[in-house]
């Protein structure tokens, strides 16, 4: 109940949706690229599933401005990211930094992959070595076999 109430309340909070959406200008294309790369990977806290680049929220515009000013002032990406993380937490980073807390996140997929390959190789080894009781059947034989099996089970059940 409390949670529902909270969600409703948070939804109803005001974020002044009609924000200024000022285009920014750069004389240096390298700075421009950095700016767009940054706002693309920072999560907006207001409409939580959009990046700063996509969000129309007022706060997103303010933060875009802040980042713009900082990029112009020659701050490095890491400094800008630290600035944001100090205020809003790791939550704002769509690309979570590699720490001991995110180790599993970043390496998990490759662990899955290694595990999968290991299982597959074992299975293939087993299957290719095993002298199998099944003799190769062609398609019609296979069908017939299936049917026999079914009839068999049918009779057992019925």
């Amino acid at each position: 109940m409390i949670k529902t109430a909270l969600i409703i309340v948070l939804m109803s909070l005001n974020f002044t949706a009609y924000a200024a959406d000022n285009p920014v200008e750069f004389s240096n294309p390298e700075l421009q690229e950095r700016y767009y790369a940054l706002i693309d990977e920072i999560r907006c806290l207001v409409c939580q599933n959009q990046s700063l680049a996509d969000s129309h929220a007022d706060l997103a515009q303010d933060l875009r401005n802040e980042i713009y000013q900082k990029v112009l002032a020659g701050e490095k990406d890491e400094q800008i990211v630290t600035f944001l993380v100090e205020r809003y937490g790791d939550f704002v980073l769509y690309r979570p930094p590699l720490t001991k807390n995110t180790w599993l996140l970043w390496f998990g997929p490759f662990l899955f992959l290694l595990l999968g390959i290991y299982v597959a190789i074992r299975l293939i080894k087993k299957q290719s070595a095993e002298k199998n009781a099944f003799t190769e059947l062609d398609e019609t034989q296979q069908k017939r076999l299936t049917e026999l099996l079914n009839e068999d089970t049918d009779r057992n059940k019925g």
Binding site: M1, F110, L113, G158
Partner: protein, 660 residues
């Protein structure tokens, strides 16, 4: 009175679903033919009642009956009729009803196309699907009744979410659910096979066309969702790795693994347990998706209004169905008879790697989607996992898939000679590399490595697929007749693989070479961008049925020649006072030009975003090919054969030994 009729029909549907579950399953266990034979008629009757209920809800929307809470919350008298119709599934309660209707539709379809199935087996399949129906109907009746009345009756409704007032949203959810829920058929077959202990390859043969069909629907559903997000959200993106998107993508990944694993199980009697497990997983992930979207455990742009009580209910359903079936799997799978033998260089091997890669891909998406929750539960704080993560880990995992498709299509079942395979493939590989390189260098001047890698992968898939087709014709005298004798399944596979390649090209080129500018423009301003000139001709107010808008007319020219006029609107939907951007898009096979009106600035100027997106259409075109391929394969002749035709075939030669 009419809403109560719908409610009552829903209760009757539940009653039918309960009968549909208990009697056929119990009948199959005791060998009671009469009980088993209830499966067909009762399942059809359930469909009749739930259809009545659905029809009633549609009627309530079309007639603006705001005495019904769900209608009042999601419709409005000014809402155009077509959106009043699609508003039926625009929010939680109605979309749940759609879920249940589609489940019942699939069940009914199984009752009609199941002449070949043994009675006891069909009874179990229908029973299991009935159990799922019971779960969802109970869920609806206990927590999410779409027919609940509202008092006092409001004068007008609070309108459908403007995001959903769009043609794409009329068909996207039904297609998606046809896919999602369609996996319940494979699930029903898998559980029936586990219950009956008949884990031979026959269940795979029966279940395969259904799964292909569901997969084709899901492919279309996801593609429609992506396309909708592209033009409706106004950011020009086509995939956001949002939890809700991931929720639909995970069943697709496992479904893809499943349809390939079916091929091996059906043809060669291998990977039987594996296929069963994938069939359970595909439907489990559909249920998981339903849970993620409706429980509120994750934030998402498109999540439904959430309620923890509902979350608990779905979690219980999830626990019952998935936990129960995995337990059953653990009990029954160990006794499965080992399948056929195969060597390292064989199609089986490549199909196995295919399923493993898709499984790993699914686990990756699952890990990324749930990691924020896992981290928080383990006290590691709040973090976000977004597109940069998924792109970084997903692409390396999917890249080998392209390579494997090429080899898998050519290599023979059971055992092949790597020298033969190598001979057939090396020129194709060289050709992909050379042609891909040339194309890349000729048409693009940056991000060359990635671009060329993508094109090479796609060419490789296309060339090897065509080569596999050619080698089927090689020793045939009359090529035309030969073409006709090739089974549809093979054409389906080839088409789907080519579709995959087309999607790869679309994704590669769009993500590497899309450009955009964010510009301040006043009427009369001209911006030169991506070889085009964009001039803002006019900004004018317009009025729609339920919104007010400012429309920008942007004239696009190239080298002085008129290309098109694009219209982008900034709408304010009056009832919810919600702004929406309607992008102006000129699309062609090679590129989209996309104009999106931003916010008003000073002096009659607006911020405007312009995008140039090469090859973006290929992403969805490929998906259409894939779905058509699935459809072709699902209608292969051998699935339509009457059982009589192969009854006459005796088992000749070959010592058959049965271990069971």
């Amino acid at each position: 009175m009419i809403p109560e009729l719908g409610h009552f029909a829903l209760i009757l549907a539940l009653a039918m679903a309960i009968i549909q579950t208990i009697f056929p399953i119990a009948g199959a266990a005791n060998g009671n033919q009469a009980w088993m034979s209830l499966a067909r008629p009762v399942a059809r009757l359930q469909f009749v009642f739930i259809s009545i209920s659905f029809a009633v809800l549609i009627y309530l929307f079309l007639t603006n009956d705001f005495s019904v809470a769900y209608v009042a919350q999601n419709s409005n008298s000014l809402l155009p009729a077509i959106y009043r119709f699609s508003a039926v599934w625009g929010a939680h309660e109605g979309s749940l009803l759609l879920w249940a209707v589609i489940l019942s539709l699939w069940t009914t379809a199984v009752t009609f196309y199941s002449k070949r199935l043994p009675n006891f087996f069909l009874a179990r399949v229908i029973g299991v699907m009935g159990a799922v129906s019971v779960g969802f109907l109970l869920f609806m009746l206990l927590t999410s009744n779409p027919f609940e009345r509202l008092f006092p009756v409001p004068a007008d409704g609070s309108d459908l979410n403007p995001l959903l007032q769009d043609p794409g949203l009329i068909i996207h959810p039904p297609m998606l659910y046809m896919g999602y829920v369609g996996f319940s058929v494979a699930f029903g077959f898998a559980i029936a096979a586990l219950l009956g202990g008949n884990l031979d390859s026959s269940w795979a043969r029966w279940s395969r066309p259904w799964t292909l069909l569901a997969w084709a629907f899901l492919t279309i559903g996801i593609a429609l969702g992506s396309w909708w997000a592209y033009y409706e959200l106004g950011w020009g993106g086509w995939w956001f790795w949002d939890p809700v998107e991931n929720a639909s993508f995970m069943p697709w990944l496992i479904g893809t693994a499943l349809i390939h694993s079916f091929a091996a199980t059906e043809k060669r009697d291998v990977f039987k347990n594996w296929t069963i497990l994938l069939a359970i997983c595909a439907f489990a992930l559909s249920l998981l998706g339903t849970f993620l979207v409706r429980s509120g455990v994750l934030t998402s742009v498109h999540a439904f209004a959430t309620d923890p009580e509902r979350g608990v209910f779905i979690l219980v359903l999830l626990g019952f169905f998935v936990g129960g079936s995995l337990l059953l799997y653990a009990l029954r799978a160990p006794s499965t008879v080992k399948g056929g033998q195969f060597k390292l260089i064989s199609r089986e091997t490549f199909l196995l790697f295919n399923s493993i890669l898709f499984l790993v891909a699914m686990l990756t998406v699952l890990l990324g989607t749930l990691y924020p929750l896992i981290a928080e539960a383990l006290g590691m704080g709040k973090l976000s996992v977004g597109a940069p993560y998924f792109n970084a880990v997903f692409i390396p995992i999917m890249t080998p898939v392209a390579l494997l498709i090429g080899i898998g299509a050519i290599v023979r079942w059971k055992q092949d000679d790597y020298i033969r395979v190598g001979k057939q493939l090396r020129y194709l590989f060289l050709a992909s590399l050379v042609v891909g390189g040339i194309l890349g260098i000729t048409f693009f001047d940056n991000h060359l490595f990635r671009t060329i890698a993508g094109i090479v992968a796609a060419l490789w898939v296309i060339l090897t697929s065509l080569s596999a087709l050619m080698s089927r014709l090689k020793h045939r005298q009359n090529k035309l007749v030969a073409l006709q004798t090739i089974p549809r399944g093979f054409y389906g596979m080839t088409l789907a693989h080519i579709g995959f390649a087309v999607t790869i090209i679309g994704i590669t080129i769009t993500s590497q070479h899309s450009v955009d500018v964010h510009q301040r423009m006043a009427p009369g301003d001209v911006v030169a961008f991506a070889d085009y000139q964009f001039s803002l001709e006019a900004l004018r107010p317009t009025i729609g049925p339920n919104f007010k808008a400012t429309e920008a007319v942007v004239k696009v020219t190239k080298n002085g020649k008129h290309v098109t006029d694009l219209h982008s609107q900034k709408r304010i939907y009056t009832v919810r006072n919600m702004p929406m951007t309607e992008a102006g898009i000129d699309s062609s096979l090679m590129r989209d030009i996309y104009v999106s009106l931003g916010e008003p600035l000073d002096d009659n100027a607006w911020s405007i975003r312009l995008y140039h997106k090469p090859f973006v259409r290929w992403i969805w075109l490929g998906a259409i090919f894939m779905a058509l391929g699935g459809l072709l394969a699902a209608t292969d002749r051998r699935y339509r054969l009457k059982v009589e035709s192969n009854k006459t075939a005796p088992v000749e030669g070959g010592a058959v030994s049965l271990k069971s």
